[in-house]
């Protein structure tokens, strides 16, 4: 009988990270790219919690809280930037951004 070991969780986290990375690369909508960042951050959280159980320490779960806070701060600022970009050029596509280019 096979047992659910920490490897399974780590593999799931790796798959989730790869999917997030793929989405980050192939999508052009800035909103979807933010969702993909969330996917990657969540895969890291899963790694933290799996390691926390594996080693019997609570620090992994505390790191998850810090990741959570940083993620929500990033979402708040990022979405505000997207909205202000959208007001200017009425599109959320990252490829059309030319404003920073000199």
């Amino acid at each position: 009988m096979i047992e659910v070991s920490t490897d399974w969780y780590l593999t799931l986290a790796a798959i989730l990270f790869s999917i997030g990375f793929l989405g980050m690369m192939i999508r052009k909508n800035a909103l979807i790219m933010f969702m993909c960042i969330e996917l990657m951050l969540n895969s890291v959280n899963l790694t933290f919690i799996a390691a926390s159980r594996h080693f019997g320490t609570i620090e992994g779960q505390i790191s998850v809280f810090f990741v959570l806070v940083v993620a929500s701060a990033e979402v708040v600022v990022g979405l505000a930037i997207i909205v202000s970009i959208f007001k200017k050029q009425s599109s959320a596509s990252v490829d059309l951004l030319r404003t920073i280019r000199g």
Partner: protein, 191 residues
């Protein structure tokens, strides 16, 4: 009598293992399904619903990993607050606009496939090379720590109190920045 009890205990252990596998496999497949919806759906609302599916299934996995408080916070903060924010912005931007698919950067698809190939190659190399022997290299401890609010607070507010305060500062700065970005300067006023 003794024999019957032993037999029952053995059966229970076996069914617990099956239960463990089911409790991992079902949420894990839902996590991957949600993630695929996030990156492949065309409608932004569908994308965000896929993200909700992923986050909720991850919360289930956290519960099986003894991290109950983190699971609850995951539901409240991620599936609740962050997704509400996403939906707000989707509604502000509008969902009818088709995504523009023309390549602005030449050779983008090729570059992406190459990078992905390398990334997946590295991951599978590491996985195959380790041969699922993580437990042998780093033996797990036999006690397990329940992530209750008591235990988390006990460490968070003693050893980790300085990072905790710093991160509250980060939140305030982010809120102020979002306000400053979203604040509409009146027309006619100098920017």
């Amino acid at each position: 009598m003794e024999y019957v009890i032993q037999k029952k205990a053995k059966q229970w252990k076996k069914s617990k293992k099956v239960l463990d596998i089911v409790l991992f496999a079902v949420p894990a497949s839902l996590v991957i399904l949600g993630a695929l919806i996030v990156i492949f759906a065309k409608n932004p609302v569908h994308n965000s619903m896929g993200l909700v599916l992923t986050l909720a299934s991850l919360a289930v996995i956290y519960i099986t990993l003894n991290a109950t408080f983190v699971a609850m916070v995951q539901i409240l903060v991620y599936a609740g607050a962050v997704m509400t924010l996403f939906l707000f912005v989707i509604m502000m931007i509008g969902v009818d606009k088709p995504e523009q698919t023309r390549e602005e950067i030449k050779g983008q698809t090729l570059l992406v496939s190459g990078t992905l190939f390398i990334l997946i190659g590295i991951i599978s190399y590491v996985v195959i090379n380790s041969g699922f022997k993580w437990d042998l290299w780093f033996p797990p401890v036999d006690y397990s720590l329940e992530g209750t609010p008591n235990i988390i607070a006990g460490t968070l507010f003693t050893e980790w109190v300085l990072p905790f305060e710093v991160i509250s500062l980060l939140l305030i700065v982010a809120t102020a920045a979002a306000l400053a970005l979203a604040y509409d300067t009146k027309p006619g006023k100098k920017k």
